[in-house]
């Protein structure tokens, strides 16, 4: 997409399940088939039990805001017109300190609170690429 100026993820052997999942609007992480630990970003070997059986596993897409920052400076291609924008460190409910990064959707900057419940939404940014994003969790 010539008019999409932001960085595009380039999948590799380890991450293709994640990005394929995103295209289907599912959040899919690598999980150890032996000890059950999730690893994100994906690793080929489980860092807890060193098993090589890392299996692509869909997760709930629910989490809480562990930390964040509001970006007010340039440096990322395509984001110039969005300044100021928030980046969230989301702790997924499946596991302590299982973090993923996204922007914050549907949340004014002055209403961001560490600990707030979040849920995943999917944005098809090009015909080939979908980005998982997070927004404040809705009831129900």
């Amino acid at each position: 997409m010539a008019d999409y100026k932001k960085a595009i993820p380039v999948p590799n052997d380890l991450t293709k399940d994640y990005w394929e999942g995103a295209k289907q609007h599912r959040l899919v992480l690598k999980r150890c088939a032996d000890c059950g630990r999730y690893s994100h970003p994906p690793l080929p070997t489980c860092p807890r039990c060193q098993s090589e059986k890392m299996v692509a596993t869909p997760v709930s897409g629910k989490g809480t805001l562990y930390s964040y920052s509001v970006m007010r400076n340039a440096g990322n291609p395509g984001f110039e017109s969005e300044i100021p924008y928030a980046v969230a460190i989301v702790e997924l409910t499946e596991q302590k300190a299982l973090f993923t990064v996204s922007n914050l959707r549907d949340c004014p900057l002055d209403q961001i609170k560490i600990g707030m419940p979040l849920e995943v939404v999917f944005e098809d940014v090009t015909p080939e690429v979908t980005l998982p994003q997070f927004r404040p969790a809705r009831k129900g």
Binding site: S67, G75, K96
Partner: protein
Amino acid sequence: MAIRNPMRDKSCIVGVGHSGCFRDAGVPGGTLVARACLQAINDAGLEPSDVDGIITSPMPGIMGYDTINCNYLVEMLGLPGVRWWIDHHVGGVPGLGSVCMAALAVSSGLCDVALACRLNWRPKDKGYGHVMSNRAQGVDAFLNPYGYGVFPQKFSSWYMRYVHEFGVKREQLGTYVVQSRKNALLNDKPIVAPRQAITMDDYLNARMISDPMNLLDCDFPCDGAAAVIVTTPERAKSLKQKPVYISAVATGQGPHPDFVFWDDYTVMAAHWAAKDIWERAGIARKDINFQQIYDGFAPFIFYWMEALGFAKRGEAPEFVGSGALKPDGILPTNLNGGQLNEGRLHALGHTVEATLQLQGRAGARQLKKADAAVVTGGGLSVAAIMVLHR
């Protein structure tokens, strides 16, 4: 297990060189690093032919200049006797890591006169550290598409969690930032920061870069170079300057290559590096007279104070806010103005200042009592520490 440190006091710093730091030096990076290295060799009372070890962290070729690595320096400086060299990423801390490696090489006998140097070169055709590609690979694929590819941004979200957990008041960090500029005004080398005091109001009103870090919390990318000569205590006896002994060095790294995915944003690589540093050094924390602490971003000061044990976990903001780090406080810190003001030499500028203080050569900045010091580099994803005494 008993602490083992056979390299304690088996090497010492005997010469320093510093090009000064500039927004735009107007000369190639190679020129700056050559100036700093030759100055350090001369300061020690040595000749280039005496240097038999060289350690640096290569600076990538930028703006058409070649990569400055050991090989480049050996040719440019005319070092015929080099038998030990390392282009390294030790501790990932390009400046202080080189001094740590020099101490290791000299104390183990790999070489007798080691030159450790660091060049920083600011690209003039783009923002320093900006994301240049819109194809995000590897871990970057999970970060850059969200406009989260620049180092200060990532550290800001880290520090946000620290602020959340420990309730930092902005004035507490401001106390350090305002004082560091005051210290810098006594620095007789060219520095990057404006030679102008700042007030707490200036600090509190500075433009936000990425919340909660503002412009004055960030150091200056610069053109500059610094170098030190490390040799044996025996060799030092016949040299020009008083030796500054290296008691201990240490490096540390965290649990994941990208700190965004660490499980605790209040503990840095600094904590791993500092784990048993005082036992290794054989110097008690209370006997440290001053410190040169890595301050590429001002909040690093908090983490380092906790890592080194000068403050309990979560209590560094109160400690720093009390004025403890002022030159007349209990732990004078960054007497050259730190990296925040002098310029980004990745703690090699810190090393030069610690050496000058311990040798009694720091001019208007000289502390009355300067017997032992700690120098730190980096701190976040990678860290290095060095304990020095006279």
